[in-house]
């Protein structure tokens, strides 16, 4: 698949490539090149199926990564196109005109990550999270544990013992720099 990466490189700038498996290649491209590349792949190569489309929250880098998984069924291999976008203003060009099924993915990413795809038909229509008011829940700064704590009650009779406390009490742990 390395020759194919070189073929892409001849047309679009490939930032990095990573052959994950013999039948799966990962490449990174700039956001400005994403739509032209995807259009070219769909029109001119065997990779015309959008198998999966999702996002990753790279909160440390201040970026989201959009991952387009394209599959060449005839050759039985896949290409993962990774595009980093700004996390502070997360907007990307919609690909629903290339693949109608992208509408649902884009609807989901709007809901779960807050990434908007202007022009995509069902942007902002609730998919799973009816009446959601918090930050999008797949963002890593969303505190899942705190949400679960608040949203769901605890069954009565639950007790939890901290392992550290149990050991400290069982073995009589003390401190000698301070009076207790």
């Amino acid at each position: 698949m390395n020759e194919f990466v070189q073929e892409i490189q001849a047309r679009f700038e490939v930032l990095w490539s990573n052959p994950q498996r013999p039948d799966l290649m990962q490449i990174g491209v700039r956001q400005v090149n994403a739509l032209p590349l995807l259009t070219w792949l769909k029109s001119n190569t065997g990779y015309f199926i959008l198998n999966h489309f999702s996002a990753v929250d790279w909160i440390e880098d201040g970026e989201f990564q959009l991952t387009y998984l394209l599959t060449d069924y005839a050759a039985r291999r896949s290409l993962m196109v990774c595009v980093r976008i700004d996390r502070a203003a997360p907007t990307a060009e919609s690909v629903h005109h290339l693949w109608p099924e992208a509408v649902t993915y884009e609807q989901e990413m709007f809901e779960m990550f807050g990434i908007s795809f202007p022009g995509s038909p069902r942007q902002g229509v609730d998919l799973l999270l009816e009446g959601w008011e918090d930050i999008p829940p797949m963002r890593r700064d969303f505190d899942t544990a705190a949400f679960a704590e608040e949203a769901f009650g605890f069954r009565p009779g639950r007790t939890h013992t901290n392992p550290r406390d149990r050991v400290a009490i069982a073995f009589g742990q003390k401190g000698f720099l301070h009076d207790h």
């Binding site: 544990a145 679960a148 639950r158 939890h160 009589g172 742990q173 401190g175 301070h178």
Partner: protein, 599 residues
């Protein structure tokens, strides 16, 4: 109601004998996928109750509940899952350090009572407990099994220098290693002093080094020593040790204390001065004596510490070589004693008369005199010139090199070019071997009765010795020592066969009769253990506080059979390591005020 409506319910009887429309569930029920994530399973005997599953659960579905007594290596807690909150994500399985937790492939279970959907897997028996399908982890883990490697001097060349072998972690390495800690606290049970291990590791991870050393000083007045040479029982039981490498607890403690050149301004004690006006004499400046002296001094006691040698430290001074625990590290901790106001009397051996005087002039006396008698090998010919005891060898070496003592000869026993045999398998044997190498010995052989895995020495010490090209002969029983005509020594040994002993005990070596091997060397160092020597006390005092072999028995306050006389350290405990001596000291730090009615 019309007649038609009234009769309608009976219409169903028209189909009473027809084939049902519905399909029995058994007919369509398919086996779940092999890795389907269903109800939990847990090997309750392999589980250590660390609570990592409970910590990682994003739905707060897992409680740790009391199931059995806490032991060294097991908190006695087991996870209880509330299936009203579980989402079967299996993060709990992927983070489980013991590998005991799993998800079976079974997922159907119907019951009218909602309470049954909260149970302790593996303890509350379920039909799917032995299901090998489902998700049992192992393909990837959420925890990092590998410790951050420690930089060391290269093995080929370090045998020619006394420089410290272990170089210590950088700040980045220490924080990375500290971040591996799961904070379960299982380690604190195994530590004889029950140090606040997860707490100080957490402080190191967060870069709060002052807080870390203060937490360390809560229970340990010699942390730089422990950070370098501790027997680290804590690491044996670390949750990570189940499937990977334990957190480098010892090296992290070392890192924290080495951040500070002088700890006197850093350690902030806040204790009531309950001991003002009371006097305590401490006999022996080893780890137990230093512990008693430091923690009583900061409580206002007037403490007089008597040490026979020119330097404090006890076995950590005269036994442990300086390439492991350098003198500046020791002096830093002695400075803490001075800072606390302890009056240090070095070169001051205590005899029977002084002991009685100390008893009459002090409110309490502590004996931490250690094991100062090296055990004999009990083989014929061991009194030949050139055969020495490891204790004497190391003591003289350290006095010669690190003090101005005039009580030792200027010339070491081991001279450059000599071939040396060390008999024994403990840390002392390794120390004697590595010191011999650094004195210039051309060849050093350790000869041990059992197998390498039976050696009581720290595995890292054994590896370090091997890296320095020290040869280890195992299953070798010394038979006798003969002098060769050219003035050398012939260590004659027979091979041992390992025979199973009672369950739980190490297999014992049994001599294979009729075979004699020869190891011709210039020096033989016997390192097969140490024993008590209380001859400096009067026979009456010995009889009151010790058994006939010289081991001292104490009560739960650390007090001997003689009122007001306390004891600790190697004379009292069986483990004979520094951290156990410190733990003994801590017991006496509570015991003396209690005896004096100060609490």
């Amino acid at each position: 109601m019309s007649l038609k409506n009234a009769l309608a319910p009976f219409g169903i009887w028209a189909r009473a004998l027809a084939r049902p429309y519905t399909i029995p569930v058994e007919d369509i029920m398919r086996a779940p996928a092999d890795r389907y994530r269903g109800w939990h399973t847990n090997d309750a005997e392999a589980c250590i109750g660390c609570g990592s599953c409970s910590d990682i659960c994003q739905n707060a579905a897992i409680d740790m509940v009391v199931n059995r007594d806490a032991t060294k290596g097991d908190t006695g807690l087991r996870p209880m899952v509330d299936y009203g909150r579980c989402c079967w994500c299996a993060l709990c399985v992927d983070v489980c350090p013991s590998g005991s937790l799993g998800l079976s492939s079974e997922y159907t279970w119907v019951d009218k009572d909602p309470e049954v959907f909260r149970y302790v897997p593996g303890v509350d028996k379920k039909p799917w407990d032995d299901d090998t399908k489902g998700w049992h982890g192992g393909e990837w883990d959420l925890i990092n099994h590998d410790r951050v490697p420690m930089s060391m001097l290269p093995g080929e060349t370090r045998g020619q220098t006394w420089a410290e072998v272990v170089l210590g972690y950088s700040e980045e390495e220490a924080q990375r290693e500290a971040a591996r800690c799961l904070e379960c606290g299982i380690c604190t049970a195994a530590c004889p002093a029950h140090m606040h291990i997860p707490e100080y590791i957490g402080a190191i991870r967060d870069g709060n080094y002052e807080q870390a050393v203060n937490l360390i000083y809560e229970t340990n007045p010699m942390p730089e020593m422990c950070g370098k040479v501790c027997t680290r029982r804590c690491e044996d039981v670390c949750a990570h040790a189940k499937q990977g490498e334990p957190v480098a607890i010892r090296w992290l403690k070392r890192f924290a204390t080495e951040r500070f050149d002088d700890l006197r301004e850093v350690i902030k004690a806040d204790v009531a001065p309950i001991g003002v006006g009371k006097r305590v004499a401490v006999i022996g400046g080893g780890p137990s004596g230093i512990t008693v002296a430091y923690y009583l001094a900061i409580r206002g006691f007037e403490v007089n510490l008597y040490e026979a040698l020119p330097t404090l430290g006890g076995a950590t001074f005269f036994g442990i070589p300086k390439y492991r625990f350098p003198m500046p590290s020791l002096e830093k901790q002695v400075d803490m004693l001075r800072g606390a106001g302890v009056k240090l009397h070095v070169n001051s051996p205590v005899d029977a008369a002084l002991f009685e005087e100390l008893r009459s002039t002090h409110d309490a006396v502590f004996i931490g005199a250690g094991l100062m008698r090296g055990k004999a090998m009990r083989v014929e010919g061991e009194d030949a010139p050139g055969v020495v005891n490891a204790l004497t060898f190391l003591l003289e070496h350290h006095l010669r090199n690190n003090t101005d003592s005039d009580k030792v000869s200027k010339e070491p026993v081991v001279l450059p070019g000599m071939k040396v045999a060390v008999v024994g398998g403990g840390n002392t044997a390794i120390d004697a071997a590595r010191v011999s190498l650094r004195l210039g010995a051309s060849e050093v052989v350790i000869s041990y009765r059992r197998r390498k895995e039976d050696m009581p020495a720290d595995w890292e010490e054994i590896e370090d010795a091997e890296h320095e090209n020290i040869q280890i002969d195992v299953q070798a029983i010394p038979l006798r020592i003969e002098q060769t005509p050219d003035g050398r020594l012939d260590l004659i040994w027979g091979p041992a066969e390992m025979v199973a002993d009672k369950p739980g005990a190490r297999p014992k070596p049994v001599l294979v009769e009729g075979v004699e091997n020869h190891l011709v060397v210039d020096r033989i160092i016997g390192a097969i253990g140490q024993g008590p020597n209380l001859r400096w006390l009067s026979p009456e005092a010995q009889g009151t506080i010790a058994d006939k072999w010289g081991w001292i028995k104490v009560n739960e306050d650390g007090m001997t059979g003689m009122p007001g006389v306390f004891a600790g350290g190697d004379l009292v405990n069986e483990t004979a390591d520094a951290i156990s001596a410190i733990a003994d000291g801590l017991r006496v730090v509570q015991g003396i005020p209690r005896w004096l009615g100060l609490q």
